[in-house]
Symmetry: C2
Subunit: 292 residues, 2 copies
């Protein structure tokens, strides 16, 4: 116990390495060197992982409620969880099984699709700012402003000079968000091209999954290496002290869910939100209640 | 089986009455005649009720996903669940244990507090319209436009002539919402004054619940009868064919949660959403995927 491992790709039986340490990707961390089927900081198998996830729900729920309660008493802190990843990397599963385990009153999910006509008239961060969490909330971005340096870069949707400036704009923006007492957790769900093929094949096999598929999903696979390069640039240019990236190996869905839930828990624990003190005389109110 | 009971207040062992029938309150239904500890359309006890709630989750989740999938393929239908009730009637528990059991990506909760300065500059339905569910979503209102004929009426926050006009405005509004393919389910969580006292006492006893209490909660108890009258007026004037009220006895939290989940299920079943047909040639895409 207490032994720290720095490896981000090996199993660590009975590891006590925080996931935040094991998964943190600083500028220079090579995405290509992280195995998508690895389970950093966790030594168990799928059934252990599911059990561990269930075990986390009560603790995370308690911490979330404290964060919310703190805000009712005037606290200003919040969390922003940014979830990025290729198609089929499991973003929906994170929303359902991780975010969905927390009281929905304390959570605010925004799904960013291709920008609407109105959104396109504004700078790329306009719609992002509008979706930031308010005090006490856990804001969750399913895709985010990073699409503006991912799909936009890969397909040259704006001139290179324009997207190239965005990394710096993102860092300035995230710094201002962190200054407003928002803890930023950026998660990259890291899957392999082979795993994506299997998941797309499953969507094609099962009629109740057809709606999740479009032929364009296959077209995008041609650009796999370009996306890898664009993600590497994101890590290199936007993993900062106030808003670091965590690369979550995601070929095993159970691990990715456990990892994101644990990241949430570790960041909430660091905030250590406390139940607010009563702003009234409890005994006096108990007397009043009896007479009411 | 198949036997229908009309009683809204008695236990019905092995009842097969739809909750929608048992709980529906039409104009003239006397709120005072509905026992807050009753469990209409359900013959079991607390542990049966919890089990029944757990059993509903899979079915409701499946129906919700179909509704969502339908919208991805161009469907326009949605659901709006309006939850009203006195302080401590269990609105938060409904959000957490009923709404929270559904995929958060398909749900959009709006909590209506006292209107902000900006909201007060607009007609009372302005903020409500902005929060209506988009296609495929289950929108949930924790409090709603009904506050504008409840707390506003009880405390004369606007002149009588103004709030008196609102019932008709609400009906017109809800008709237009229903015309946009939104199924409206309005739930009144019906608790007794005694049960509220117990719940407030619990909030005072437990330090981690103090943040949920304000001395004003006790002041409001003086107006209990005025609120009862205001709720009766709501039932009488706004329980319409397109947007009926369901009165859910709520002194037993487990029953209220089961009832709201069942109402959601029954309304989703009536919509009967179907998985969309594939808009592409499945075998052709399977071939393309193999080559990608």
């Amino acid at each position: 116990m207490g032994k720290k491992k720095k490896s981000g790709t090996k199993k660590a039986p009975e590891s006590t390495t925080p996931f935040s340490d094991a998964l943190r990707a600083d500028p220079g961390t090579e995405l290509a060197g992280i195995a998508p089927r690895s389970t950093p900081a966790f030594g168990g198998d799928k059934s252990d992982g599911r059990e561990a996830l269930d075990d986390l729900v009560a603790a995370v729920s308690d911490l979330q409620e404290r964060l919310f309660a703190e805000s009712v008493a005037g606290g200003t802190r919040s969390i922003l969880l940014v979830v990025q990843g290729m198609d089929t990397s499991g973003k929906g599963g994170i929303m359902r099984h991780v975010v969905g385990a927390v009281d929905p009153q304390g959570v605010d999910i925004t799904s960013f699709k291709a920008p609407t006509a109105e959104e396109q008239k504004h700078p790329f961060l306009w719609r992002i700012r509008k979706a930031l969490p308010t005090a006490g909330q856990i804001g969750v971005f399913d895709r985010s402003h990073y699409e503006d340096v991912l799909v936009v870069r890969v397909h040259d949707l704006v001139p290179r000079a324009q997207w190239a400036r965005r990394y710096g704009q993102i860092n300035t923006f995230e710094e201002s968000v962190a200054d407003q007492d928002t803890t930023i957790i950026k998660v990259l769900l890291h899957i392999s091209k082979e795993e994506q093929e299997e998941r797309l094949a499953e969507r094609l096999e099962r009629p109740e999954k057809h709606w999740k598929f479009t032929p364009g999903d296959i077209d995008e696979r041609e650009y796999w290496d370009d996306y890898a390069q664009a993600y590497q640039a994101v890590i290199d240019k936007t993993s900062t002290d106030v808003a670091p990236w965590y690369v979550v190996p995601a070929d095993r869905k159970w691990y990715a869910r456990l990892a994101v839930m644990t990241l949430l828990k570790e960041h909430l624990e660091a905030l250590d939100p406390q139940w607010p003190e009563a702003s009234f005389d409890v005994e006096q109110q108990q007397e009043r209640l009896k007479d009411s």
